[in-house]
Symmetry: D3
Subunit: 166 residues, 6 copies
């Protein structure tokens, strides 16, 4: 059984010591999904509301949030991420947007939390931009899709019922 | 049809002008759900891993994140929130924790985004604390449960299939 | 001769005490100008580079920076600004963009620094977005155009040679 | 024609991927100019107002702002800058101060934005410290003077009419 | 016996709810003491090292830190403080500086933590500025000297042996 | 006599240039002491107040503050620390807790300020958590216990009367 690396022997919270780790290339890919009313979905997509502004604002918010990850998640190491990309995949059938982030670094620890923070804050920003119109929007399916680099090696999420959006 | 208050007539992003709004008491309640393997769930709940530390760390992270909301969500007003509470509801059947936040202020604008940011970052913190053990955890069902105060009045989420956790 | 309100009798830096000031409505309008090569100007304006993205990113950066003013300018009071708007005025003849910000609050002290910070960071963001193409861009004409509210009353900038852009 | 490295093929904003870049020594030198009334200029320079406090506060603000660059400029990479110096050059004839910053790093990307942010915030701080006395001050001539390191090599600003202050 | 207002009935950390509190004028005065070698003390005081720069930098750092208090102390409310002053009292006999802060607000909760954070970070800054010369410096006697405003009324520290510096 | 590395030849504050320094392993150990009434001490230690929550919150606050050091101390370099640990040593005889931090990095400059910031903010957090019960608490004995790495080599604090707590 694997151990919780954030909890020491007495159960106290701790920041994992990565001082002696070798830097390697690290990649993490994460996603979130924002579901909404059909009218809200169409309004974002249509030219009426200058499509793109809601998503561009969310994209910028997600990138900036990824840079703040260690300020938000108590035991995260501060990292100088070298790339963060965010893409949106609209799904008309479910009136939702899937958000996917891709974060890279050459460093001593992984960037999963940065990728997850990016898609979470991008989703919250869509909510904020549209909330006067649709307070019932839901954010779901926030998960890690893939990671590589480091001792724990490659992780790829196996799709299942919960992942029907992938 | 309601308008997008964050988009002006030319479709440009803007911060809503609330200068002339009367301050009123505002409350917002939001939730998120973190689902995991049964073994991870039990480890958090059991004495072995000093139950409470993972959740207490997530609670603190959520409170601190709520205070940073206007720094994360581009068009949010900076606010001096006067209360933020975060509670955890474990559900053994689904090996998941439901997180509920309650935010209050006496001010000119609502605190929905603060409540949503709190539950999102609390959930991300649970992920971070346990990720070495269970990378497949999922965060879902992030939504506003209730808000009151302000011109738009009271909102209460109607439960439906998506809300089976409530 | 007016006194420097940030310097006390011994010449030490100090934050002005506004505890006993009555809150009033405060408005501040400021500007900056970003000058560039004609090719860079046209590229931003044309559809080729998806006009609007550079400026929308600058707008968002300016709004977010206004919220951080008291974190950047040592003796500024933290304020909960209630509105920040940013507009861009392209000038083909000089291959430049004039940026104008408008900040409002109902509070005990003015928002000039917030308005000036907004146009400065919006201008820096345009520089950053286009710097791989035109490192010689210049930012100039950063000044307060107007303020109202508070004991010092209304200020309106008189145009002169330096203000030929207005 | 060079491309905009911050805009991808679909025109979406993106953080440039520098993961695979070799670290090299990077230097950037930037400037800004703050112009004011003669009386304000003399007051800062004279012993009356404890000359140096206004400028020392501006210097500290500029150094601290350089460290926040990636938090202010949306697509900037977070960087651990290894040196930031700020100097002031008073010019009695024009009642103005030229501010020059010098930033260094051994890293994968340049520090132009850090140098420009430093001189911008130092200038804004001078404005803030003296604004009760002279609301008409202007900040201008913000530009990159020099950069070295990285694939794009050395850049040195050619002086022209706009640069009469150099 | 008084209760811990930050701990709820189940012992969970919480931010105290001050939504219904009446705003009143609040003042807090706090201190810290930095003790050092005689040579370091004299160097700070003498003209050689441009006396005042170490202390002015510490003063600015203390003011800026007071504004960040709610970002540092997990359960502190975000507050818009309306005044922060910091003074230094050199004591030649003990080669030390006593730092005193004075913070004011008209608000719903007190500013003790802001006053204590200000003197702590001002002291740490003195340490940082002089540490290459004297690594053995000690910071001590950080305490609240006085507070007024709010339901708990006036607090004044009674001097005792520990407070010999007052 | 050693020089003040933060002050240049004209006495101006400056960030030390470490661009050309070789990265080495750096460790810093620091401490603080929080003294309180016996009743407060017992309440924290006993099960009544869910012992551990006060200290766990202080631990998390200390870790998060260490990551913000360069944002608090004006001339500190931004650093990506690779480990921060915080431990508490209760002393029943003096009704006090000694807090010890341990910070590590492989980098170009030391982490003394990070270690000192961690113990200072952890101590302030204990104060905040218990202040409604005991406003007379004092924080003292903040000092560097040990450092290694870098050109200045190893430092170990010699115990003396002031260090009776070690």
């Amino acid at each position: 059984m694997k151990k919780f690396t954030h909890i020491d022997n007495q159960g106290h919270v701790r920041m994992v010591d990565v001082t002696d780790k070798k830097p390697t290339e690290r990649i993490a890919v994460a996603q979130s999904v924002v579901s909404m009313n059909q009218a809200t979905f169409e309004k974002i997509q249509s030219q009426e509301v200058k499509k793109g502004n809601v998503l561009e604002t969310a994209r910028i918010a997600g990138v900036m949030a990824a840079k703040k990850t260690s300020d938000l998640i108590p035991m995260c190491h501060p990292l100088n991420i070298t790339h963060i990309g965010i893409d949106f995949y609209p799904d008309k059938d479910t009136s939702s947007f899937r958000i996917e982030s891709n974060v890279r670094i050459f460093g001593q620890t992984g960037v999963e939390m940065e990728a997850l923070t990016a898609v979470s804050v991008a989703a919250l920003t869509i909510y904020d931009m549209c909330k006067s119109y649709d307070r019932g929007m839901t954010i779901s399916d926030i998960c890690l899709l893939k990671k590589s680099g480091g001792k724990s090696g490659i992780f790829e999420r196996k799709t299942n019922n919960r992942d029907k959006r992938l």
